[in-house]
């Protein structure tokens, strides 16, 4: 493909003839630098992205710094408890303002380069040596040097999202039916959920969309994670791994009911019933949850594992443990991923201990499953460079696709764009790439 935007025929990269049994994407979508630049502009810097969780910025002055596409940003808790988000860049000469991922601002934000001061509300409050600065008219126009706010900042049940683009529309509209699935996490405790202290960051040598595709991909599980299943099975023979410390592996062998949804707007969900719900860290809360959420919602929370992809950069998994993940594209072939354990506020020490251990077993690059995922996606990216075979087919499930909701979705009261009866099916990607194409080709 060419290296400038105008030479790309983006629509030709997605061969969407699902009605005829064909849905395929050109490998260029993972490798082309011009397309990557357009994705950053149109998707990451052109709409809603996940920023952080409110439990990471509890008190006034607490900040969380991250990126929106290429732009460094921070979210800051104000004195009145509200949140504001700004570019993490001094309006003077462009230095990064807040140096830590998480920290606390005491009083004003002071630029570490020339000492300019900004209030928590972003107003420029002090210019070093202003009077001696020889500014036009003797004084600098401080309002010209206020911090640059994000165009939108909104929260859904503790999850903080922002947009650099004024055209993003309401967050609730963007989240759509993912909200019901976010609720399945947040409602696990009457006091909500919290991000636990400690994280892990790693750099993948693959395109960011491979991270996205991996979320509703149950098809790789019986192959890539077979070794995780057999390792856990031999572990179970030793004492000390019963109760909540037993690791659920029924999903890996594919022996449970499962399915997947295209939730629209690039969002996707995979679900699989728990073979051993009594091993889940949430199990001790069964009575309380069944009382608070009678019917199918409790079933979804207690007896059904879920992977949720909130397009483009929030991943929430509730499997053997609960996992919050975000990714940041660094280039067509480099993606930075950060993971945290999220947990119900106030859960028992026993449940918390089990949740953490099972998180570490699976969800880290120092663990026994995410490490295998990383390598599998890296070698898929290597293969994406082999454009002598230029197309990737997403055929699995085309014949069994159900437009709209299936029974499980109806029970939860959500209305996906499409449903499918197996987590090995690839039809959620149809929605992903239709949305992707719309975002890249929409007229500005």
């Amino acid at each position: 493909m060419g290296t400038n935007e105008s030479s790309l025929n983006i629509a030709a990269l997605i061969d969407d003839r699902a009605g005829e049994g064909i849905f395929r994407v050109r490998k260029d979508i993972y490798t082309d630098p011009a397309l990557y630049a357009l994705e950053i502009k149109r998707i990451f810097e052109g709409g809603w992205v996940f920023l952080c969780h409110e439990s990471q910025i509890r008190s006034p002055g607490d900040y969380f710094s991250t990126h929106v596409g290429r732009q460094p940003v921070f979210v800051l808790r104000q004195e009145d408890g509200s949140l504001r988000a700004f570019l993490n860049v001094c309006p003077h000469r462009g230095s990064i303002l807040l140096p830590f991922r998480q920290g606390r601002v005491k009083g004003s934000i002071n630029c570490r380069f020339h000492g300019w001061a900004f209030g928590p509300d972003g107003r420029c409050e002090g210019i070093t040596f202003e009077r001696a600065g020889g500014y036009p008219g003797g004084r600098a126009d401080k309002r010209h040097f206020d911090l640059t706010p994000l165009a939108h900042l909104e929260t859904y049940r503790g999850f903080v999202f922002g947009s650099l683009s004024p055209a993003a529309g309401p967050l609730e509209e963007h989240l759509g039916s993912t909200r019901a699935f976010i609720d399945l996490f947040v409602d696990q405790s009457p006091d909500g959920i919290e991000v636990l202290r400690g994280s892990s960051t790693y750099v993948c040598h693959h395109n960011w969309k491979m991270q996205v595709e991996n979320v509703p991909d149950g098809y790789h599980v019986p192959t890539v994670h077979r070794i995780f299943g057999t390792t856990m099975a031999q572990r179970q023979l030793r004492p000390g791994y019963d109760g909540l410390l037993q690791t659920e592996t029924g999903r890996i062998s594919g022996s449970v009911k499962n399915g997947c949804y295209d939730l629209g707007r690039g969002h996707m969900l995979l679900w699989a019933d728990r073979a051993s719900p009594e091993a889940a860290p949430l199990y001790p809360s069964t009575a309380q949850i069944e009382k608070a959420f009678p019917g199918e919602k409790a079933h979804w929370m207690l007896r059904r594992g879920r992977n949720l992809m909130v397009f483009p950069n929030l991943v929430l998994n509730d499997l053997a443990s609960t996992h919050l993940r975000t990714h940041r594209p660094l280039g067509p072939d480099r993606t930075e991923v950060t993971v945290w354990c999220i947990a119900p506020v106030g859960e028992s020490r026993e449940a918390r201990y089990a949740r953490l251990r099972k998180f570490e077993d699976f969800f880290l690059l120092t663990g026994m499953a995410t490490s295998d995922d990383l390598v599998s996606l890296n070698i898929v990216h290597e293969g994406a460079l082999a454009d002598a075979r230029p197309w990737i087919d997403f055929q699995r499930g085309i014949a069994t696709l159900v437009p709209g909701a299936d029974e499980a979705a109806r029970e939860l009261g959500v209305n996906p764009a499409s449903s499918n009866s197996s987590w090995t099916h690839e039809t959620p990607y149809h929605g992903l790439y239709r949305h992707w194409l719309r975002r890249l080709t929409a007229t500005e």
């Binding site: 202290r197 960051t201 945290w340 953490l356 880290l364 026994m368 295998d372 390598v375």
Partner: protein
């Protein structure tokens, strides 16, 4: 200080590195007590490690040598993408210090280390430092606790117990 103990501790740490680099897993496991605790804390921030495995994330937290045996099982099964082919490693362990011997004969010691890693998945140099509690079993010092701090916090390759 006890020169003989210093020598014995340094030997133990060298053997640990030797067995990992030569992939002599069984001999490596035998350096640990049955009830050994193996803990690699995660980073809580740019400057702070997590301190409470019961309430905070660790990179690895294993109670009992069995947790390390699981890792060896996974490596030897030849069914893990991240472990086939295995990475080549070279550990260099230094700055060995014996800090104290408590009333029960438990030896507290520490080291710093660098592991150079080469693989098809990339080349990396990892570094860190470790704190140990060592217990004498049948006359020989064995690892009762290992707390290993990996200073690298933006990993580009999977890291298993044999990289640390």
């Amino acid at each position: 200080m006890d020169a003989e103990l210093d020598r014995e501790v340094a030997q133990l740490f060298s053997r640990e590195a030797h067995f990992l680099d030569r992939k002599q897993w069984k001999q490596w496991l035998e350096l640990f007590c049955e009830d050994a605790e193996y803990w690699a804390p995660a980073w809580a921030s740019e400057e702070e490690l997590t301190a409470d495995p019961g309430n905070e994330l660790s990179l690895i937290y294993l109670r009992g040598r069995g947790g390390l045996e699981d890792r060896v099982y996974r490596i030897e099964a030849r069914d893990s993408l991240a472990s086939v082919p295995l990475d080549r490693t070279a550990h260099v362990v230094g700055s060995v210090l014996v800090h104290r011997v408590d009333d029960n004969g438990i030896v507290e010691a520490s080291s710093s280390w660098i592991t150079h890693v080469f693989s098809v998945r990339g080349t990396a140099t990892l570094g860190g430092y470790s704190d140990y509690a060592l217990r004498r079993v049948d006359g020989a010092l064995r690892i009762a606790q290992k707390r290993v701090v990996l200073i690298d916090d933006r990993l580009e390759i999977p890291v298993d117990v044999y990289h640390l």
